[in-house]
């Protein structure tokens, strides 16, 4: 089909701009405290500067073509993997994640987190690999290629160790496998070792899950060897789970435990979540007013400009403000999903969906974390959380989406947006 150039996807661009403006406003507000901190109160300016850079980058990407993007997948992937290896040796920590060596520092200045770039690069690479696949995979073994693509950066990220970003990689992987047409029983079987790992803490629940898995293996008529191997893996996972738990860093264990019960540790890890809920809850319907949140002003709320920036939204702008922010995110995801459905080829479609799911998992985990619906993992909130590299990568993602949208088919879609 001949390429019919369409204009820029203005609704998508507008939503992204609104979200970013909202975000910078909140970074500004987060800097307003009763005992002022010079660095934090001026962060909004740096964020604005990064936004300008991000817009340029996004524009540049949009001017390119999907072909170019596809071509750049390999070098980007290799580059980001290289950087991830590099930060393992020379990385530095920052903020809440002081013990996580995620930052690339050059000459004392923190340049960025390679993991952010790796998210984009892995998405592109995964899209390439999956787009090249002609048949729908029938067995787990046929999935080795995409798994290797995700597995390498995932392991490097986990080695930092950055649990949150690791979760993002897994989410991207599953979302794109699903989008590429891998049947759901296969996805479930793929996920089964992980599920076993989590459920192993209760023998009863794990037993029930194992029976379901056996039924699934029999029903989907898996290859004998593969089925047996899968079940054995699950058993092994169930056994090693407690051992694996011991290998987690104490702060990681604590975070997971505190997620289950924040009151366990009101003054340390649970403190953040408790204060976040207090901030959000005390915001009420209309909030305490822009820049006027007492939890934030008096610094009860931790990580106001990064991980818990959404709590500032909740406290100062209330349920109304939260609803507007969530509505913008929802609109953004629906519009981007539309881009994925209307892409003219498998690769752009996969890329679009991968980007959407990556941003989606960020939003869900981060926002959920502020209300203790998700564990505190240090995953930033796209367009809101202060941080240059993440904003840049997010906007490059937007640029890619705009490009794909521009090359997509012009037919109306089911969702009707």
């Amino acid at each position: 089909m001949a390429l019919r150039r369409q204009g820029i996807d203005y609704p998508l661009l507008l939503i992204a701009l609104l979200l970013t403006a909202f975000g910078i406003a909140m970074v500004f507000s987060a800097g307003q405290t009763d005992v002022p901190s010079k660095t934090i109160s001026l962060l909004w300016r740096r964020q604005t500067a990064w936004f300008a850079v991000a817009l340029v980058a996004s524009w540049a990407v949009m001017r390119g073509s999907v072909r170019l993007i596809e071509w750049s997948a390999w070098p980007l992937y290799l580059l980001s993997c290289g950087l991830l290896v590099l930060v393992l040796f020379v990385g530095t920590g920052a903020g809440t994640a002081a013990s996580v060596k995620g930052w690339l520092t050059i000459g004392g200045v923190r340049v960025g987190q390679p993991a952010e770039l790796a998210k984009l690069a892995t998405t592109l690479m995964l899209a390439r690999v999956l787009a090249a696949q002609r048949d729908v995979p029938r067995s787990l073994l046929e999935l080795w290629r995409p798994l290797v693509v995700v597995g390498i950066p995932w392991m490097l990220v986990m080695a930092q160790p950055d649990l949150g970003t690791g979760i993002v990689f897994i989410a991207i992987c599953f979302a794109m496998l699903f989008w590429s047409g891998v049947p759901w029983p296969l996805l479930l079987m793929l996920a089964s070792p992980g599920i076993s790992l989590i459920l192993a803490f209760s023998t009863g629940i794990w037993g029930a899950w194992f029976l379901i898995l056996v039924a699934l293996v029999l029903w989907s008529r898996t290859y004998l060897r593969e089925g047996v191997a899968l079940l054995l893996t699950n058993v092994a996972m169930g056994v090693v789970a407690p051992l694996l738990w011991d290998t987690l860093k104490p702060y990681q264990q604590r975070r997971l435990l505190v997620f289950l019960d924040p009151s366990l540790d009101v003054l340390a890890s649970g403190y953040q979540v408790t204060q976040s809920k207090v901030a959000i809850g005390s915001g009420g319907l209309f909030g305490k007013g822009f820049t006027l949140g007492s939890q934030k002003r008096l610094q009860f709320l931790p990580e106001r400009h990064t991980d818990f920036i959404f709590s500032v939204v909740g406290e100062e702008l209330g349920f109304i403000g939260v609803s507007i922010a969530l509505a913008l995110f929802l609109a953004f995801f629906l519009r981007s999903t539309r881009v994925a459905t209307r892409a003219n080829d498998a690769f752009p479609s996969l890329v679009a969906f991968g980007l959407v799911s990556a941003l989606f998992i960020h939003v869900i985990v981060n926002v959920g974390m502020t209300l203790n619906l998700m564990p505190v993992t240090g995953i930033p909130l796209p367009f809101f959380t202060y941080g240059g590299s993440f904003l840049l990568v997010s906007w490059i993602g937007v640029g890619v989406l705009l490009r794909i949208s521009a090359e997509g088919r012009g037919q109306p879609d089911a969702i009707g947006l």
Partner: protein
């Protein structure tokens, strides 16, 4: 889509439905209650003179998020003003008890400390300096045996149900009136709110929320006579030791109560300096021992009236009854029992025996009554009971309950019937406080009913202990008046004013004798009962002099004196 619905729902639940709960939590986060200590009630004497009042003072406290930060703040403060190790530890302990309240560093900071700290306030976030009324007793030394003092509530006290509404760091009354009337004296604590940030730095000091002013309760009026207290204090000076109780025989209203040697109770307020306390403890004359309330002494001759009453009640004697044996200076009962006057008193009546305090007469009267009856009589006259005065820690007097007491104490064969001789002249196993003796003489001075002594006026409570027809009681009263006009207390007579009373000289081996006087005035219309014990006062006349001066001081202003004759 689903996830967003769930998220939206969760936010709705948190922000709209649970808003009140979280608003409260957020307020609790940012607001710290700073207690404004309330002034305690003023205590007045019967004429409106001040016994206890409050002076302006300053307290210095600090808000800290953690114990560590408190310690470091104390160290920093220590570079500006002197804080010794004990004070630091105390502040830390206070913090542990109530981390949300400012930990008090100085309860009573000097003006100098306050001005230094005010100047450098910016350096110490969380520092709170505020006015805090300080208790003061204008006549601290004269009142030490009575008023008690105030101090910070202890951990042990906090655990008691009695102190349910109290918080750590608050002041409570200790001992004396301050303890007894804590509920009436305690000031109502006010509070103000300061806004703090996550590190407990005070961000806004005023107007965060309206203040609640502390309230002082209405003043406490007492029956005490401050003028008498001062007078006794001056009279005792530094050399005399003993205790004094003066009360109204009709109402039981306590006019004065004093114990010597005394000390400055003002130094006890808010924690007594260790050195001063140790010096009081080390003093061989035990100034901390309240002789009026807790000192028990053999009542000696002052108790002879009790023997007389028991004899009269049983109908064994009248005021004119003579004993079989005249007094020759001693009496033989198994061994020789001496009379205090070795020349003897001759053949005398009960009335004369009381006036002359003749031991030999009372030995025989005691024998006539018999040990069992004497003991029972003493019990019914209240010599085993404390007076239930409105002061804490009154000491119960000692008097045998029955004959079994002697078996238990000395063994069935360890004593003999001659003990009744000693008991009948107020010696042996009899130990009374000035307070119990004052109560007994109050009954004697009036209609035979003993009032419950009260420092703060309450409904009068009288218990009939002496059961004699009015004429017999009057006979006793006349004989008692004769003691002062003619008898052993003759030196104490004040012209124009007749006092009824009895001296006593109690052996106190190996020390010199203790001197007693218990009496009342005016004899015909008693308005004041005084009991005096002078430790090592040698003879009762010394005590009688004090009592007489005291009565004079009290009565001169009050009435024209009536002379009672007893010839």
């Amino acid at each position: 889509m689903l996830s967003f619905t769930v998220l939206g729902g969760a936010f709705f639940r948190t922000q709209v439905l649970q808003n009140a709960q979280y608003t409260l939590q957020s307020e609790n986060n940012r607001l710290r209650e700073v207690p404004l200590p309330g002034a305690r009630a003023i205590i007045y004497d019967r004429k409106g003179e001040i016994i206890a009042e409050n002076l302006p003072g300053y307290s210095v406290s600090i808000l800290s998020p953690t114990e560590d930060s408190l310690r470091s703040a104390l160290t920093t403060l220590g570079k500006v003003i002197p804080i010794d190790q004990a004070q630091q530890e105390l502040a830390v302990r206070r913090f542990r008890r109530a981390p949300q309240r400012p930990a008090v560093i100085f309860n009573d900071a000097s003006f100098q400390v306050v001005s230094v700290l005010e100047e450098r306030r910016v350096e110490f976030p969380g520092l709170i300096i505020q006015s805090s009324p300080k208790r003061y007793y204008p006549d601290g030394a004269a009142m030490a045996a009575l008023v008690g003092y105030t101090g910070e509530i202890s951990e042990a006290q906090l655990a008691l149900p009695r102190y349910d509404g109290y918080k750590a760091g608050q002041q409570i009354g200790r001992q004396g009136l301050e303890q007894q009337y804590e509920a009436l004296l305690r000031g109502k604590e006010g509070r103000r709110f300061v806004e703090v940030d996550a590190r407990n730095r005070v961000v806004r000091d005023n107007g965060v929320r309206p203040e609640e002013q502390p309230e002082a309760p209405p003043p406490l009026r007492t029956n005490l006579d401050l003028d008498l207290q001062r007078f006794i204090h001056e009279y005792f000076g530094d050399s005399l030791r003993g205790g004094v109780v003066a009360m109204d025989p009709q109402t039981g209203g306590v006019l004065a109560m004093y114990s010597a040697p005394t000390y400055d109770i003002n130094r006890f307020i808010g924690g007594v300096p260790v050195k001063y306390y140790q010096s009081l403890l080390d003093d061989p004359h035990t100034p901390l021992f309240n002789r009026a309330l807790k000192g028990t002494y053999a009542p000696a001759s002052t108790w002879k009236l009790a023997t007389a009453i028991i004899g009269l009640q049983r109908g064994l004697v009248t005021m004119d009854t003579h004993m079989p044996q005249a007094c020759t200076g001693s009496y033989y009962y198994g061994r020789v029992f001496k009379c205090w006057d070795k020349n003897g008193h001759g053949d005398i009546s009960l009335a004369q025996a009381i006036a002359k305090s003749c031991d030999v007469y009372f030995y025989q009267l005691g024998l006539k009554i018999g040990l069992r009856n004497l003991i029972a009589g003493g019990v019914s006259l209240g010599f085993r009971d404390s007076t239930r005065i409105d002061l804490p820690d009154e000491k119960r007097p000692r008097w045998p309950e029955s004959v079994k007491y002697f078996d238990a104490k000395y063994g069935p064969r360890g004593w003999n019937a001659s003990v009744v001789l000693s008991l009948s002249i107020g010696q042996a196993d009899n130990a009374q406080t000035p307070l119990t003796m004052a109560r007994f003489y109050s009954a004697l001075a009036t209609d035979g009913a003993a009032p419950t002594p009260q420092i703060v006026a309450q409904p009068v409570e009288r218990t009939q202990i002496v059961n004699l027809p009015p004429d017999k009681l009057q006979g006793l009263q006349l004989a008692l008046a004769d003691v002062v006009t003619r008898g052993t207390a003759a030196g104490a007579q004040i012209q124009g004013l007749t006092i009824a009373g009895k001296t006593g000289t109690a052996q106190n081996p190996p020390h010199p004798d203790n001197a007693w006087f218990v009496g009342y005035a005016p004899a015909d219309k008693p308005q004041i009962v005084v009991a005096v014990i002078l430790e090592e006062g040698l003879h009762g006349t010394a005590a009688a002099k004090i009592a007489t001066k005291l009565m004079e001081r009290f009565l001169k202003k009050k009435l024209t004196l009536v002379a009672v004759t007893n010839d």
